[in-house]
Symmetry: C2
Subunit: 222 residues, 2 copies
């Protein structure tokens, strides 16, 4: 063993702001946002901590940057298409992006200044609503409503102890046991008669609310 093993990188690509942010996203995905430290990020890129500071001013800029990278993954809605369909697709786009990167939801609260991709996303969404004939005020209402629902759903999804598709029952069983005192009969009921049924996926709840919201919006336009 003549050499200590290089951490990951094949041949040490040249650094760049984009590569730093990209690796930061990967690291956060793999190990959680808490494990994303300047030191761990540098190591995953085969560099030293202080080298990163040539491309980013500080860690906050990294956090702002990776949130914006998540937004950049989302396909923009088109003002040319049917607004309802576009809003449906956008909602699913945002949700799936936030599901791929669950740490992003928690970051939204603390990051105040939006990045370019975020702004583009906002702009395209507002444009689609306005093009559909919503008034300025109604567009503001609709936008606040849709984003609240999407972000809130993603927030709940991120807080779930289990990971969607694979057995909710395995994880929730011990939690449910905590309810067996009878203190929480309705939670028990929901758990046993709904959540613990085979094939249950919390993500499936998304469409119910989304359609209800879109129905309401189309009604309030007419």
């Amino acid at each position: 063993m003549p050499d200590t093993a290089q951490p990951l990188p094949r041949r040490r690509l040249p650094l760049s702001r984009e590569r730093v942010l990209g690796c930061a996203v990967d690291l956060a995905d793999e190990s959680g946002i808490a494990a994303l430290t300047i030191r761990s990020l540098a190591q995953s890129m085969g560099t030293k901590p202080m080298s990163l500071y040539y491309y980013v001013a500080n860690k906050d800029e990294i956090l702002d940057g990776i949130v914006d990278m998540v937004f950049s993954e989302i396909e923009l809605p088109s003002p040319a298409g049917d607004w309802r369909e576009e809003m449906y697709r956008r909602a699913h786009g945002v949700r799936s992006a936030l599901k791929r990167h669950p740490w992003a939801v928690g970051l939204l609260e603390s990051r105040s200044s939006p990045g370019e991709a975020n702004l583009r996303h906002h702009e395209a969404t507002l444009g689609t609503l306005r093009a559909a004939g919503f008034s300025v005020q109604m567009t503001a209402h609709a936008y606040a409503l849709l984003d609240s629902y999407i972000y809130g759903f993603a927030l709940q999804e991120a807080a779930l102890p289990f990971d969607g598709r694979d057995t909710a029952s395995e994880i929730t069983a011990p939690i449910v046991e905590r309810f067996s005192t009878g203190q929480y009969p309705h939670m028990m009921e929901i758990a046993t008669e709904h959540v613990l049924k085979p094939g249950y996926d919390f993500g499936d709840e998304f469409d119910f609310g989304l359609n209800l919201v879109l129905d309401g919006l189309s009604r309030s336009m007419r």
Copy 2:
């Protein structure tokens, strides 16, 4: 000046888990969640850092604890009342609690195991919906929808750079200037024709979405 000034406490009340969590909430409210450190918390209570560990196992337990304290401030809905009114009041109760303690929203994503107050709140809400005649499945739908909307709204509210009532224009003016390139015409439109109008308060948007959601739910019950 014979004595160094005691930080805050009038006469150093006896410590207790409740007092630790209460002071933690106060400190987070005043200085932000980032400023809530074991050391700063101990100092604000007139104690030394390690003394706190007699009442809490670690900092995570403090974070879990203060989230649950926020829930404990929220009045529970009653299964005896009109479900729509109860859900309306609950929604506003949750939102105002999360507005008083904006840091709580960001914490929700990372804390997985809910506390007692949280569970009681869930239970009462589910009970109210079931009592109103919603099926088990419909109750799950309604609950996911309502909570998503409420949490998402609170999340957006917490991320706002300005603080509700007082002038949105002062803060947003420089941001709007960033749009004056014409890249974001619809955001400009919303800003100038809606957000920057005197008396605008993002919080007022809450009722629009909430009523739309409640309308949709009552429709889907019938």
